[in-house]
């Protein structure tokens, strides 16, 4: 993290007077301390929700950015992933002077107030810095457009995938000669693979975050061709939803997966060899690389059809500003374009770059195991569209809390579905705040 000892000019009138007054009154004689000149550099206050592997990569990119931009004073701030971040985002944007550019999930654009809390990205300015619609996958670009206006610059696509540990899979006899996991089709074939791996590990076949079951559920439900709509009530295919939930119940019931494994526990379980396979977001990759594990990755298995996995995009957005500042917007847009063009570093964390010149580069094609699942990003399954839907949004939280019961056996799929319906109906009845 960089120092924040220089006050942002956008902090409003009276800031310096206040500091000087307060400090003088305190008798510290530090009146000038908070006001050291930025030497004419443009401040760029960036907010993000990345810690761990992603955080380290963002720091690496920011170091490079700073070296190339001596005229910009980049000040990144990290807040805790999920509600703490989104809450600060909404409050900072409502205040209109807290930050200049921020990361966000594409699925949250509508719910976080595109047009009120989030300002549009000037597409012509972005094009000036070399990023246009043609440089990004169409499904991803469309996700950044709300009511015909561009509100976000997509950095990556990330989704739930399959991790496999080669030692256990080798012993289970489920590896191809080239060391990749065998492809399966249909639920029974995949369960056979899990049974074989369970035999090999002595504990479980696969481990997944049972407190974050929405990702698994949405992947399976979409493989079955299920849709979810919220116009005038919850539109959901009960039969398909029950099939998807029953699969989650079955893997745990049959002892193929642990009935309870939380978000930090899941990668730890995989690393400890308790299971040979893991369903998890691609962002866990650096942990196992650092640990020196022999593992591979492939798309989420096609249990009910195509290998579709739930996912989202990290995007960069411009917060609403209280007072217009063209220089700050220009700096922020240039920064966003720079991040896209240098997203090969970001890809090291497992995310698939949204910027096609990077995603299609030879350098990215050589990254292992990223190349094994890169095509899955083209068919990423975004969460259903609603203000209460998306990463860390209320629907996601309700689904996770309800569906954890299917994994641990405290609720049948039918009960879980009924509870999910009630929770979703309540959200639909809640007056829309955006």
């Amino acid at each position: 993290m960089r120092t924040t000892s220089t006050p942002p000019p956008a902090a409003g009138p009276g800031r310096r007077a206040f500091l000087a007054g307060g400090l003088a009154a305190a008798g510290l004689g530090l009146a000038g301390c908070g006001a050291s000149a930025a030497g004419g550099r443009t401040p760029l206050r960036q907010w993000n929700l990345f810690t761990g592997g992603d955080g380290a990569r963002m720091v690496e990119m920011h170091d490079a950015y700073t070296r190339e931009h001596p005229g910009v004073e980049l000040r990144p701030t990290t807040y805790l992933w999920g509600n703490p971040y989104y809450t600060k985002f909404a409050m900072g944007a409502a205040g209109g002077r807290a930050f200049d550019v921020a990361t966000l999930h594409a699925s949250r654009l509508r719910g976080m107030g595109a047009g009120t809390l989030i300002d549009p990205v000037p597409a012509d300015l972005l094009a000036e810095y070399g990023v246009t619609r043609d440089d990004v996958l169409p499904n991803v670009w469309d996700k950044c457009v709300v009511d015909g206006e561009l509100y976000a610059v997509p950095l990556d696509t990330h989704l739930v995938v399959t991790y496999y540990e080669r030692g256990a899979c080798e012993r289970a006899g489920v590896l191809e000669p080239d060391g990749s996991l065998v492809a399966t089709s249909g639920p029974e074939e995949f369960l056979d693979v899990l049974a074989a791996v369970k035999e090999a590990t002595g504990h479980f076949g696969v481990v997944m975050d049972t407190t974050g079951a929405w990702r698994q559920f949405w992947s399976l439900y979409r493989q079955l061709g299920g849709e979810m709509t919220f116009d005038g009530g919850l539109g959901l295919d009960d039969d398909l939803a029950l099939q998807a939930l029953d699969f989650l119940r079955r893997v745990c019931d049959d002892g193929l997966a642990p009935p309870a494994s939380d978000a930090p526990g899941t990668p730890a379980n995989f690393q400890n060899g308790i299971a040979g396979l893991m369903f998890a977001g691609n962002w866990e990759l650096p942990t196992f690389q650092t640990a020196g594990m022999d593992f591979g990755m492939r798309p989420f298995p096609g249990i009910f059809g195509a290998e579709l996995g739930q996912g989202d995009c990290h995007v960069l957005v411009l917060p609403h500003r209280r007072t217009r500042d063209d220089r700050a917007v220009r700096t922020a847009v240039e920064y966003a374009a720079w991040m896209l063009k240098n997203s090969i570093v970001w890809a090291g964390g497992g995310h698939t770059p949204a910027y096609l010149p990077v995603a299609e580069s030879a350098e990215y094609a050589e990254l292992r195991p990223q190349a094994e699942y890169r095509h899955a990003a083209e068919d990423v399954q975004f969460d259903p569209e609603a203000w209460f839907s998306g990463s860390a949004a209320p629907l996601f939280a309700e689904a996770n809390s309800v569906m954890a019961g299917v994994h641990n056996g405290s609720a049948t799929p039918e009960e879980a579905l009924a509870r999910f319906r009630r929770a979703a109906e309540r959200l639909i009845d809640t007056p829309e705040p955006v």
């Binding site: 007054g21 380290a56 720091v59 002077r97």
Partner: protein, 290 residues
């Protein structure tokens, strides 16, 4: 609510008694020391953790003393620079809140205690009722109002709402009313205006209560979390509790660094307390109890 408060006088001191070492006395001493040491365990644990290299912090079983003591965690925290900024902000905000609170509350209390004006009783009753309103009730509408006024993410937005402390108007009014009026009357007869009477008669006689209010307000403002947390989002404007509580390190949780930040964040008031224990204890007790 205030009427139930007993007026405990500190002037009556327990006359010292000669103590022999009795079994009861020894037991009391031992219990007191055990409790006091137990109470210091969290602080000791924080300090010891902050002196460990990061790798040692998660060792199992738990080891109290660092094997290789180091100031690395402190160096990392100071190199980030955030904490220094937050300390500066805390000093500025707490000082401003304290000074402004003293000024406006003293003026108002003098107005109520020494002058008469239309609506005096009604206004005093309104302020009294304000004591019942917990600041927590106001966070949502107040934030909404601050966005309208453009005061979110400014120092004024953090400080001004904290200045509204009707309880001190009440405390000071009662105190000023107890000052013998003869002095004030005499000064008035000499032609002194209200401000002059306040400045050269009332205030000099009120030094202890003013100190108590000042100390209490400063400690309260220094440690206030909720309103500054709501009113500031830009880390450059945050106070120590808000910054430490919300801003994350990019590399995830690092316990030695967390504890180093905690120790540095705790230090200012602890040092003040060590230097001025008697005054702080009196200030908190006087403003809190009487």
């Amino acid at each position: 609510m205030s009427a139930t408060a007993p007026a405990v006088r500190r002037t009556v001191r327990r006359t010292p008694r000669r103590r022999r070492v009795t079994p009861v006395g020894a037991a009391a001493t031992v219990s007191a020391l055990v409790l006091a040491v137990l109470w210091l365990v969290p602080l000791a644990w924080a300090v010891l953790t902050s002196l460990k290299p990061e790798a040692e912090t998660t060792a199992v079983p738990v080891r109290w003393l660092p094997l290789e003591p180091t100031f690395a965690a402190y160096r990392s925290i100071l190199a980030r620079g955030d904490l220094q900024q937050w300390l500066v902000n805390s000093v500025a905000v707490s000082t401003a809140v304290t000074v402004l609170t003293l000024v406006v509350c003293v003026l108002a209390a003098y107005g109520f205690a020494a002058t008469a004006f239309p609506g005096r009783r009604a206004l005093f009753a309104l302020f009294l009722a304000g004591i019942l309103v917990p600041p927590q009730v106001l966070i949502v509408p107040l934030f909404d109002q601050m966005t309208a006024l453009g005061l979110v993410d400014t120092y004024w937005g953090v400080a001004l709402p904290q200045v509204v402390a009707p309880v001190f108007v009440f405390v000071l009014t009662r105190f000023f009313e107890g000052i013998p009026r003869d002095y004030q009357e005499a000064a008035r007869l000499d032609g002194a205006g209200h401000l002059r009477v306040l400045w050269s008669v009332v205030l000099p006689m009120s030094a202890p209560i003013l100190a108590a209010v000042a100390i209490f307000t400063f400690v309260q403002a220094w440690n206030n979390f909720l309103w500054p947390f709501v009113a500031t989002n830009d880390p450059a404007l945050m106070t120590v509790p808000v910054g430490l509580g919300t801003v994350q390190g990019a590399y995830g949780i690092q316990y030695a660094q967390n504890m180093a930040a905690a120790v540095l964040g705790a230090l200012p008031l602890i040092v003040v307390f060590l230097l001025f224990q008697r005054q702080v204890v009196r200030g908190v007790t006087d403003a809190g109890l009487k």
